[in-house]
Symmetry: C3
Subunit: 330 residues, 3 copies
């Protein structure tokens, strides 16, 4: 057989020319907000901020050229899936999109450990969305390549919490000293639980505003109190709105109420309108994990304090940072 000599790229990112393999998070999994120290967050957000500047300057760059992401979604999530795909592509890497696992090997009964051990033969990093709590930890136990948890059931969705916090930091310049008000369904929303856990690493004041049946779970309040986070609960936004720096809105779902009347009687108190904004601080920001279904009126979109679409963009930078970090390139 004739010798086969494929062209080798000059800027070969695989040769250990730098010291990036000693960098924090190289080869690590991103499974839970509980794994991060305050110092970790400073590092992640520093890299994410650099990503933001690079994207704004050059759009895309070849930091992860030649690297492959397996985007493994056991349940559909257009937003999260697109965000990771874009993050990898803006870093010059490639993506294996896997959206149909429910029809495939898995429906033939394959275990998650076998699936990830197969996929890591093809990819350098695996992003996993799964309906079951603990799926990411299980995958990480068996995989040699890094696993990034993109949501496992009612469990964790750490990259969402990180992007939420990064949004606050980029929009308001700091986190320490702020008052964050969480509004809506605080019982079932994993988003607010994870964000609150991260906020406990900062010097902030947190307000919970929710219908009585959707209050922040007592065990989470207790856990955060232990960590020294000042927290207060309210049934309406009125008292806390004037002192709020960050208004984090979540959806109050009709289905959560046994009595439709009970829902009707409270729902208007949890919808943000231009009237709400009139009573809010001039530098307050409104956040929402999206999708929204009516809990923020579309008229609010024009208000410069409406940060929820910018929040999506910050998510891109955080995910770029995480991908670069676990692949040892940041």
């Amino acid at each position: 057989m004739t010798a086969f000599v494929p062209p080798v790229r000059q800027d070969n990112p695989y040769l250990p020319f730098g010291d990036h393999r000693n960098a924090p998070f190289y080869g690590k999994d991103i499974l839970s907000v509980r794994q991060f120290s305050r110092q970790d967050l400073d590092y992640i957000f520093g890299v994410a901020h650099e990503m933001r500047e690079m994207v704004q300057r050059v759009g895309t760059f070849d930091l992860l050229k030649g690297k492959i992401l397996a985007n493994l979604f056991y349940e559909p999530s257009t937003r999260t899936s697109s965000s990771f795909t874009s993050a990898m592509e803006r870093l010059g890497g490639s993506v294996i999109p896997i959206n149909e696992v429910r029809y495939s090997s898995v429906s033939k009964g394959e275990s998650l450990p076998d699936t990830v051990r197969t996929l890591e033969c093809y990819a350098d990093v695996i992003v996993l969305r799964h309906p079951e709590v603990g799926a990411s930890a299980l995958a990480a136990k068996y995989a040699k390549k890094p696993i990034i948890n993109a949501g496992d059931g009612v469990g964790e969705h750490p990259t969402q919490a990180l992007l939420d916090l990064f949004t606050i930091l980029e929009e308001l310049g700091q986190v320490d000293g702020l008052t964050v008000t969480m509004l809506g369904d605080l019982k079932y929303g994993r988003t607010v639980h994870s964000l609150a856990r991260l906020l406990a690493l900062f010097r902030v004041k947190v307000n919970y505003v929710s219908p009585d049946i959707l209050r922040m779970p007592p065990e989470i309040i207790a856990e955060l109190k232990e960590l020294g986070l000042p927290q207060d609960e309210y049934l309406t936004l009125d008292d806390v709105l004037p002192t709020t720096d960050v208004l984090y809105v979540t959806r109050v779902q009709k289905e959560r109420f046994e009595d439709p009347q009970a829902y009707e009687s409270v729902k208007n108190a949890f919808i943000i309108t231009t009237e709400t904004m009139r009573r809010a601080r001039e530098r307050m920001i409104v956040m929402h994990p999206l999708p929204r279904v009516g809990e923020i009126a579309m008229e609010v979109d024009e208000d410069p304090r409406a940060a929820y679409f910018r929040q999506m963009e910050y998510g891109l930078y955080v995910r770029m940072a995480l991908l670069a970090m676990v692949l040892g390139k940041a």
Copy 2:
């Protein structure tokens, strides 16, 4: 934190080194055939022809390297979706494929404006296929990034009409002076309606051949007459075949007929065979938007005048041209 310096590409397409931002269509939406002047078409087809030459010479080139297309399909369309994906990849760009919107955020009730405002955080241009008329215009109203309409219900599918016209131009060298015969279901086919509107910008003669119940809608005939397009209607192909330069075939669906007998009595008159081709001009071309289901016999595929597969290829060049144009690179 240590300074983070990602490599910057030398051929950075994001810095405004040229005057391409003054180019026609830069940052514009492609929503409807009605938005194009004759001069616009000359420009688009000029760029599309250059794309054809480049693809034939080098296959792929890096004109849109670093740019990202969100390919947002609310209903499946392998042909159109693959064509846009290939167009972006042949220009060195990347694609976020989004085919499962019906299972996703959207099924949680998210509005189209919210979905496109999220996706434009991740992508540089959005191609949208949607089952509802006017969806693309709605998306374009809210998006800051360019929207390309890839079909909105029974409404518009402008890139199909452009590729149809480009096929005629490339195959026959000109459009002015030709006789174009449209055959089959002229009532429900948005393809022929859009093509007829574009043809009205040229000096052509148009024949409509269809079963009586599937005639070109009178309001469209009136609209085109206003624009000065010479049009005639026929029930059979026989009279017009010998003078036809372009035979545009569409499918006559059995389901359109209340009476199965009525369908049986006409169907053969709308099937193209080698016998039909024998009576046609030597330089005539046969077109079809595809998929076909029997309305052109497979034996015709061997005839050099069968242009319908080449038509798919011209679609690639037109879509490459449009992507490059709206992104300011052509």
Copy 3:
């Protein structure tokens, strides 16, 4: 119109600067294991070995930069689809993923020949997975671009057989002189049929171990005998295990048995445990096409002789080799 001059890459892979167009398999289809000679296999595995070394050295390289693969899956197969996607991306090429054909043009009744003739307008090579026997041959008959069969019903899955054989070669250094024992469902498993056909090109001894109702079909045994392959049949693994070099395990499905009791009575004889491994050769390897559902206990994964996950990785290299070869770059 102003002149339009897109940048041309210096390392243009489309100009015929080398003699690769005379290379074996350039422009050819990969349809069946029956198409390969012993010499062909030597060539393919030589290229695949180079691919392995390149991936281990540099991860990804630009041998197929600018080339596009249409990954056309009429039925889902995460493993095979991801493997081909990764193979193309590790070679610097792009992929058009087409997973929803069942909802699309095809459901409108389009024929396979029309679909592939459309897709080859957009892509340089088509990988096809289809539920019907002979689909790949039909596609290849009409397509001008190379077709790679990624499984057609109970017919062929040639790249699986090639990767199986490549695994043996890479793990054990040779194929000639080995004893290969196939275990489990040998009646319905196309994998073992194809592998046995390839093994007939080497000097090997093959043992078939299966429940009586799942024996290797007599016509295949006869065909291979004709080719001079030494074959023996057994009902249990006990006798042949000590002399086995390659243990190829497949799944025994409960549904194949009319009598549930019959299944219960045999199933344990076809499950591999650490106890089985204790009685096996020190250099034996265990293979499995995956997914597995219990036929190899998870405890065996730790054994260095468990080669089934490495087998997935060898599949990547074989598919990289095939893509490079049919595109004339190896």
